[in-house]
Symmetry: C2
DNA sequence: TATACAAATGATAATCGTTCTTATTTGCAT
DNA sequence: ATGCAAATAAGAACGATTATCATTTGTATA
């Protein structure tokens, strides 16, 4: 798990808001949280944080490599704990549920495409949007 | 080329602003334009359009299938003429140049992934970000 | 061709997500 | 305990986009 050390080694003081945010990501059943999500959940847990602080902390955690930021459609950024391994996302347009996947073939072809076009890949984002046909969508937003 | 018919068949009156916007996309050497881009270019061409109209028209054109909207990183939407054929994008982080590509293998694997996870694909977006290693990047933003 | 009316426009206010500012508080080394 | 740099909270500011609404413009009809 994450001790305050994680923060310290990232050059960040281990303050209350930072610990709370980290806690939330580790204990929430929802892997993908927006700044607004984090803010609201902390408030309803009785914590007294400012929205500006949430944004600041999320950005710092991203830069420290603790979180990964995603730009899904809809304008708002979504964060998740950095598991170290890259993966892409498939998002249900009906219930907002997000599943992660990794496909070696796709990754390989991307390298291929980039090389062909004379690019060096720095990053990429693949988002599939669809309908999750499972009987019970557990996550209604 | 696009005649006013295109608008009419989309259920849109062929008004001056709409024709101008369509013209711009057909005659601009830059395929990918943001709302702000369109607005500024029309103004500097002596046209007198409102920014709100540009946004409205772009959205209508997207819904009518004349344009395709992309959400690249950076917060703003970018539009391009709908060529009918799907393609993905690779964006140069240095100069902002956008290249289009289509890879059958990637498309096929996506279907595969979605099926495996119990999804029906509605849409997807694959953006590769990198450095375009060509000697002269022609498009400096 | 004149006209009438719904549809479209332009100016501006409002909204949304996010960042900035600043006075106050807090972690932590002394 | 104490001091001070770093972090915070509140709210202003911001950029992109959308909504409002009075005015204008296509276009179908007389």
């Amino acid at each position: 798990m994450h001790q305050p050390d994680h923060l310290k080694s990232a050059g960040l003081k281990s303050t209350l808001p930072r610990l709370k945010v980290l806690d939330l990501f580790e204990n929430s059943k929802e892997r993908h949280l927006s700044a607004e999500d984090v803010y609201k959940q902390l408030l309803s847990s009785g914590e007294d944080v400012g929205l500006a602080t949430v944004y600041r902390v999320l950005t710092q955690f991203e830069q420290a490599g603790l979180l990964v930021r995603h730009h899904f459609e809809g304008g708002k950024s979504v964060f998740e704990l950095n598991k170290g391994e890259h993966h892409d996302h498939i998002v249900c347009l009906q219930c907002g549920h997000v599943e992660e996947f990794f496909d070696t073939a796709i990754e390989a072809r991307q390298e291929n495409v980039a090389t062909t076009l004379g690019f060096t890949i720095r990053d990429h984002s693949l988002h599939i949007y669809g309908d999750c046909t499972k009987k019970d969508c557990p996550h209604k937003p």
